[in-house]
């Protein structure tokens, strides 16, 4: 791909693992998959706080915040993240979550405003479609402009 066009828009995705979750093999696969789909993935790494993630989302002007969480702390951490994004003046940045999320919790997270939840067994194309879809809805709503 020769990038000599005057317009080269790219989706920017913030990818992070919050809390004390210590497994990052899966999230690295995801970073690679989203990058292979042509996106710019800003990978924050392990043990991030909600405040750090929200601050990075604003500074990096991302289209989607994608959270990987396997520890079971999602019902504590995700609401905190949404609150921090609101407090940073960025309630419009969509959040999607992947990990070990029971169905009931997934429904609660979606109610809270999370734009997508994926569990074990989800395929890479599903993941890419979910992230791209969340970004697209934001652009369509005019929030990105």
């Amino acid at each position: 791909m020769i990038e000599n066009r005057r317009t080269t828009p790219k989706l920017r995705i913030l990818l992070a693992k919050p809390g004390l979750d210590g497994h990052d093999r899966g999230v690295k696969v995801i970073a690679r998959a989203l990058s292979d789909a042509g996106m710019e993935v800003i990978y924050l790494g392990l043990r991030q706080t909600a405040k750090q993630i929200a601050a990075a989302a604003v500074q990096e002007d991302v289209d989607v915040v994608a959270i990987s969480i396997l520890s079971g702390a999602h019902m504590t951490i995700i609401p905190e993240l949404l609150e921090n994004l609101r407090a940073s003046g960025a309630p419009d940045i969509p959040v999607v979550v992947g990990g070990i999320i029971p169905d009931d919790d997934a429904a609660s997270l979606l109610n809270l405003g999370v734009k997508g939840v994926l569990g074990p067994g989800a395929s890479i194309p599903e993941l890419v479609a979910m992230v791209a879809g969340a970004a697209k809805r934001r652009v369509a709503s005019g929030a990105a402009l």
Binding site: M1, I2, E3, N4, R5, R6, T7, T8, P9, K10, R12, A31, R32, L34, S35, D36, A37, G38, M39, E40, V41, I42, Y43, L44, G45, R47, Q48, T49, K51, Q52, A55, A56, V58, Q59, E60, D61, S88, G89, A90, L145
Partner: protein
């Protein structure tokens, strides 16, 4: 769009992080937007801080060193803007930008702004929009701007034409003394840092660098100091900050500052001109079946590629008025 840009610029001058971030994205995504931003910026008054480039191969510790430099600058009461550039895949157009993961503890400090950027097709270690981002960070009021280059290849020379001060980072066990001559480290550096200097071989490397520096054609009256660091423990980092500030005062006194800013201006004009000509020609080529046919028949008769390009260019230039925009 201009009204929106003007109001985002005003918000940026009032230290609105979202406005700054938005403008950097617009400049990255769209050359026309970048053009409008820089046109409006040229009419605004704001301070122009020192711009420091940090170059070096992958894994030498650039990000970790920048993290420690930021902490030191904050101790001294200065605010910092960091632009961390990573390679964009030429195959997919995607990128994994991971520099920020080594600077986590800076994330919640309002005096530090960090922005990760994909190189997006530029090979010189920084992206086209890096210079737009430098101007926007200056308007935002960053006290020092640090650019982390992609760290790929030996030709990160674009940073020399964007920064006041270039720090080359090297580490022990990464090559012999001939490599030092090859790689241009001693040519582009204003300050040379040997990171991971607790590793075996740091002293040998230091003496080799000193040797290479003696061979350097002295240009401007500044001999690049050699500083040994351990980025993870902040050893040597205060010395880097001191030396960086010293180099800036040296440039101000010697007239080198204006000279480097002129060089940066010329480099930016060059880059934009090349991009503009290239995109005009590419658009012309991609849209024309005529070109594909001409290419096919040139191939069939194995016509000289040089001759073919001469013919093509003269035809294109006759037809296309390169848009002055």
């Amino acid at each position: 769009m201009s009204d929106q840009i003007a109001s985002l610029l005003e918000s940026t001058a009032r230290k609105d992080v979202r406005a700054l971030s938005r403008l950097i994205s617009m400049a990255e995504n769209d050359e026309d937007a970048a053009g409008r931003i820089s046109f409006l910026l040229a009419k605004m008054t704001y301070a122009h801080p020192q711009i420091v480039g940090v170059a070096g191969a992958p894994g030498v510790g650039k990000s970790t060193l920048i993290r420690s430099i930021c902490l030191e600058l904050r101790k001294r009461g200065l605010t910092v803007g960091v632009l961390a550039i990573d390679p964009t895949s030429p195959l997919t157009g995607g990128a994994v930008l991971g520099d920020r993961s080594r600077m986590s503890e800076l994330a919640t400090d309002e005096g530090v702004y960090i922005r990760s950027m994909g190189a997006r097709g530029q090979l010189g270690g920084i992206s086209r929009a890096t210079r737009d981002a430098i101007r926007l960070l200056s308007l935002f009021g960053s006290g020092v701007i640090i650019i982390e280059t992609t760290g790929v290849g030996q030709n990160e020379l674009d940073v020399v034409n964007a920064a006041h001060t270039v720090i080359s980072v090297i580490m022990p066990a990464s090559g012999d003394s001939v490599q030092l001559l090859e790689s241009g480290v001693t040519e582009i550096a204003d300050i040379i840092v040997i990171n991971k200097s607790d590793l075996l071989g740091a002293d040998t490397l230091a003496s080799e660098v000193r040797g290479a520096l003696q061979l350097r054609a002295k240009k401007d009256g500044w001999t690049p100091p050699l500083i040994k660091t351990i980025a993870t423990s902040a050893m040597g980092v205060a010395e880097i900050v001191d030396t960086t500030r010293e180099h800036f005062s040296f440039l101000e006194k010697s007239g080198g500052k204006v000279e480097r800013e002129r060089r940066a201006y010329v480099a930016e004009v060059n880059l934009l001109l090349r991009q503009r000509v290239l995109s005009t020609i590419t658009a012309e080529l991609e849209n024309g079946a005529e070109f594909r046919e001409a290419l096919q028949s040139a191939f069939e008769v194995r016509r000289s590629p040089y001759e073919f390009v001469d013919m093509l260019l003269s035809r294109l230039l006759a037809r296309t008025e390169i848009s002055s925009h």
